[in-house]
């Protein structure tokens, strides 16, 4: 029982990070039909942003302030990833709209360059980020079951992001414009929505969220230039599983993959677990080839 609880909790915290990463992917793919393979590198950017913030506090500010660095790091991660995402969209991505496979290759190239850049600046080995002391320890649920505060914090952060996204997409004006463009780009353009601006803002927000995910990852372990690649494929699987265009699909997809990963790796070995998860996904696609929440269309191709 205790073991079960701990495992379930770990699965939940993995799922929540996956969700944060997949959110940006699903939105950019749904909106622009662009597959952003460099998405993982925005995680890396966010992680290094947190690392930088921590370094600034350690090196040049009084030690008693150190605990305050993390909230600032979250904001900084978002802003940095958002800005770089915005730049990437305006300089490259917008030439690749509606060409999913080409965008995939070009952004893969971008990812490669960003990784190498990080390697040149911060060095190839992983670096550790000291988390603030107020996140040490954990919540004792019952004998033998402790929920670490770090992971609880991550789950809380994800819920917060999710709520913010929900209000942005479904309740705010820019969000409504985004939905309009997603559903019918030409019509939205005719109605006077600047699709260019919606595209770049949305892409940047997706990147920013990935940055937050990267920041959260610094709580779990050391970070390195290739940290993004460890998560990106799983995040893509979430999109495949959940379908495109609905927040709920991404949520269910992330929970599904995170939990399956946890369960299979627990029951078998890490390597066999991955195989089983993959087989589960392929099997699921036999039943729902377009993912959980597919939108039907009448066009031929």
């Amino acid at each position: 029982m205790a073991l079960w609880l701990t495992q379930l909790f770990n699965g939940l915290s993995v799922s929540s990070i996956l969700l944060l990463i997949a959110l940006g992917l699903a939105i950019t793919f749904g909106l622009m039909r662009v597959i952003n393979m460099a998405h993982g590198e925005f995680i890396m950017i966010g992680a290094y942003a947190a690392y930088l913030m921590q370094k600034i506090f350690q090196d040049s500010l009084p030690g008693s302030w150190f605990g305050a660095y993390f909230p600032l790091a979250i904001v900084f991660s978002f802003v940095l990833a958002f800005t770089i995402g915005y730049l990437l969209e305006t300089t490259l991505i917008r030439f690749l709209y509606g060409r999913p496979l080409d965008s995939l290759l070009a952004t893969w190239g971008v990812g490669l360059v960003l990784q190498q850049l990080a390697r040149s600046i911060f060095g190839a080995p992983n670096v550790g980020v000291t988390s603030p002391s107020w996140l040490d320890g954990g919540l004792r649920v019952m004998t033998g079951v402790v929920f670490p505060y770090k992971r609880l914090f991550i789950i809380g952060l994800v819920i917060l992001c999710l709520l913010a996204m929900y209000f942005y997409i479904y309740r705010s004006n820019p969000g409504r414009r985004m939905q309009a463009v997603m559903q019918n780009r030409d019509m939205a353009a005719c109605l006077g929505i600047s699709t260019r601006r919606v595209d770049s803002t949305t892409f940047a927000i997706g990147s920013g969220i990935a940055g937050i995910a990267g920041c959260a990852l610094t709580l779990i372990g050391p970070i390195g230039p290739t940290i993004g690649t460890n998560y990106i494929i799983d995040a893509f699987m979430v999109v495949v599983l959940g379908g495109v265009g609905k927040l709920a699909g991404t949520l269910v997809g992330a929970l599904g993959i995170g939990m399956l990963n946890m369960l299979f790796e627990w029951w078998t070995t890490a390597s066999l677990g991955k195989v089983l998860v993959f087989l589960c996904i392929v099997a699921f696609l036999q039943w729902k080839p377009m993912g959980l929440f597919a939108v039907r269309s009448r066009s031929l191709d």
């Binding site: 039907r296 009448r298 031929l300 191709d301």
Partner: protein
């Protein structure tokens, strides 16, 4: 019921189609006799195109059946996949020209020819003298002889439509489903398409979805009017035009009403 089934080439019974709860077609019956030219008309959203989609397998209905009585006997096509339905002898032309833009005109026709369609058959396939003759004849008919080695993607809109009609003819279906074959065409192109259609109609059963009433009037042997996913009226063009309910449906939509009313 059994008598219509034995003589009809296609009979749809109580076909219902739903898209995310919205019923695009409701309990629609449609019976087509061999050699018939049937027009399917109705206001936008009446479910005409959806009906064609059901017959050719693109859309699976939630209820009802579609029995095709071709050279392979009576078959309920709602259980079959698209390619199997095409193989049975049901041909479909889509509203927007859908040709293979990376292939030449000639190649488009070559792969459309009625033939064995397995992987190994395609690997071994050779152009016989007869095949070449068929393609040449078709090229003359659709007037693309001079452009046969050009990439089909470079053709004009009208030329693409004709190429697709040519592809349909080489496919030799027993029944041909056409979705607005003259939409977006200039008057001259419409004229030529009309001529092509006359050739097609001579040899096989054809179902046409059309908005252009002038065009319908020139051909119509029999007309089926659909409205909000249901059958509204079936009969000759004259009968349909005299029908009050049809007039009412069309009066709600001014432009169509003008067209239909001008000869009534």
């Amino acid at each position: 019921m059994s008598t219509t089934q034995s003589t009809s080439v296609l009979s749809c019974e109580k076909v219902t189609v739903a898209f995310d709860g919205f019923k695009a077609v409701q309990e629609m019956d449609l019976t087509i006799l061999p050699g018939e030219l049937r027009f399917l008309i109705g206001p936008n959203g009446a479910g005409k195109t959806t009906m064609l989609d059901v017959i050719c397998g693109k859309v699976k209905p939630v209820g009802g059946k579609v029995v095709f009585n071709g050279r392979h006997g009576a078959v309920d096509v709602t259980k079959r996949k698209e390619h199997a339905i095409a193989e049975l002898g049901i041909g479909r032309k889509f509203q927007t020209p859908s040709i293979f833009s990376g292939l030449t005109v000639e190649e488009n026709l070559e792969i459309s020819m009625s033939q064995k369609r397995g992987v190994f058959a395609a690997l071994r396939a050779k152009m016989s003298k007869f095949d070449r003759m068929r393609i040449e004849t078709e090229l003359d008919l659709i007037g693309l002889q001079a452009k046969k080695r050009q990439r089909a993607g470079l053709l004009s809109h009208g030329e693409k439509q004709w190429l697709e009609i040519g592809m349909m003819l080489l496919q030799e279906p027993e029944i041909l489903l056409l979705d607005e074959p003259v939409a977006g065409m200039t008057d001259k192109e419409t004229e030529k398409t009309g001529e092509l259609l006359k050739q097609i109609v001579r040899k096989r059963t054809v179902v046409v979805v059309e908005h252009d009433m002038e065009f319908v009037r020139r051909f119509a042997s029999s007309v089926t009017v659909m409205h909000e996913g249901k059958l509204l009226k079936e009969g000759s063009m004259d009968e349909v035009q005299r029908d009050d309910r049809v007039a009412e449906v069309y009066l709600g939509r001014r432009r169509d009403a003008d067209v239909i009313g001008s000869t009534a």
